[in-house]
Symmetry: C2
Subunit: 158 residues, 2 copies
Amino acid sequence: MSDQKAFQDYYADEVSVCYGCGRLNEQGLQIKSYWDGDEAVCTFRPRPYHTAIPGYVYGGLIASLIDCHSTGTAAAAAYRAEGRPMDTEPPLRYVTASLHVDYLRPTPIEADLVVRARVEEIGRRKIVVASELMAGGQVCAQGRAVLVQMPEKWLVDE
Amino acid sequence: MSDQKAFQDYYADEVSVCYGCGRLNEQGLQIKSYWDGDEAVCTFRPRPYHTAIPGYVYGGLIASLIDCHSTGTAAAAAYRAEGRPMDTEPPLRYVTASLHVDYLRPTPIEADLVVRARVEEIGRRKIVVASELMAGGQVCAQGRAVLVQMPEKWLVDE
């Protein structure tokens, strides 16, 4: 996937400050999402301080990865559905309306976390993305996010 | 509430390293939860880099606050149900089985975020906690977490 540009690298600067996925947020997680066929994949290595109890990742990180990977996947899927690349106008950006995470087992901190997402439903303004978070070949968490198109007025005052 | 000790301050050292709520995690959020009658309250001021889009908090922080405040509330409620203080043995600690967050409106970053939680259901090993996250007097998100008692063996190998 290294020859692909990540979904998040297509975002305009003003929407690239997200702690989870903004390439301009220096303190943030800066996750990157790519297509792998019909699935979108994101790999993240937790930092040593992302602990829950010793040896395992805290649930908020898992929720954050699933959340930001889902908004990215929604955007990429919306462009794909319109048959145009992510660097064309008008921009399509999504925000989370709801997020559900099932924590199936403790997630090891010393492993690459791989989130695989697929689009379950795609409407004009609403997209549903289901995902699995794996570590060491085991599914540790499952996510389901409902994303809605971001109103342009949210950025008007900036 | 300043004369109360926070729920998280009763945790043993080995379970106080959580990025969200561990008092020993120096890089973490170190949230604090307190009883206010039958509700548990946690107040958190986002840091400037906790951005989603400019001016607003990223969803992963909201999920993290609701998650950790809910595990703390579950523990405190379990002790309360047994009629004993949180510094008595045996310890009761909870982990998240599932987390659901509805994001109702953008959450301002320049505000104290107040999470109020109440116990919806309390069983021997499973507790359900519902919560609201408010900023500037408005409910910005609602959460529902299912918590289960942490198996002691999770800490055996440390």
